[in-house]
Symmetry: C2
Subunit: 133 residues, 2 copies
């Protein structure tokens, strides 16, 4: 399915309600628009949030690489933003997206949250590089 980017309307007043942490970042949860699966959590600074709203694609700040990244631009696992929500105290973002490809996780899993406590699935890629994208 060929998806199309839809920029999200926003106002400066809305942007001013977002409270970035001491490191200039706010956590951004990414949820699948179709079935509500929580896909991943990334971090945004003000610029990444603006790019996300203006382009309708998900932009994050990579804490490990120290650079902006547009999700899926390398892997093809793009996210098409359908809504950008913010929480009661403005210090968390929720992106609702249509997810392309296999999923959001660099391991190939659909969701980064593919392991549960008590399920015996603690092996896997926990030791691998933090290389979303």
């Amino acid at each position: 399915m060929e998806r199309v980017a839809s920029p999200v309307d926003f106002t400066e007043e809305e942007l001013s309600l977002v409270r970035f942490g001491a490191d200039g970042l706010v956590p951004a949860i990414v949820q699948d628009a179709g079935d509500g699966t929580v896909l991943m959590l990334g971090y945004m600074d003000g610029e990444a949030l603006r790019r996300t709203l203006q382009t309708g694609r998900s932009w994050f700040w990579s804490r490990s690489r120290g650079e902006y990244w547009c999700k899926g631009e390398t892997s093809g696992d793009r996210q098409w933003v359908r809504a950008v929500r913010y929480d009661c105290d403005g210090d968390a973002i929720l992106l609702v997206v249509d997810q392309d490809g296999n999923g959001a996780c660099h391991t190939g899993a659909r969701s980064c949250f593919y392991r549960s406590f008590g399920s015996g699935d603690s092996s896997g890629s926990a030791g691998s590089p933090v290389a979303h994208g």
Copy 2:
């Protein structure tokens, strides 16, 4: 409906895969077990995570108040933990819960993420104290 706490099995090996930030905290997304709504985002240190697993209730570290809190212990809006997931690089937690009462938000909203960019709903309680619980 009277709900019952169900402790979550875990191993020390699993706990060792969780990577806490420089501030000793890891973000914890809370999702409704019934319909997948993302309810809130809180923060846990190692002790809050252990308490959550051992009690089957959601425990967080309040950054604003500098203390542990068990969600809903004051308000009655309790969360009964059904699964605790962790992400590929171990630096985010996902709690799947049955939510009691009106919801997770101190404003009375079901979800803390009740506002969207571009929807004209930027008024509300963004300026109110960060007083989950």
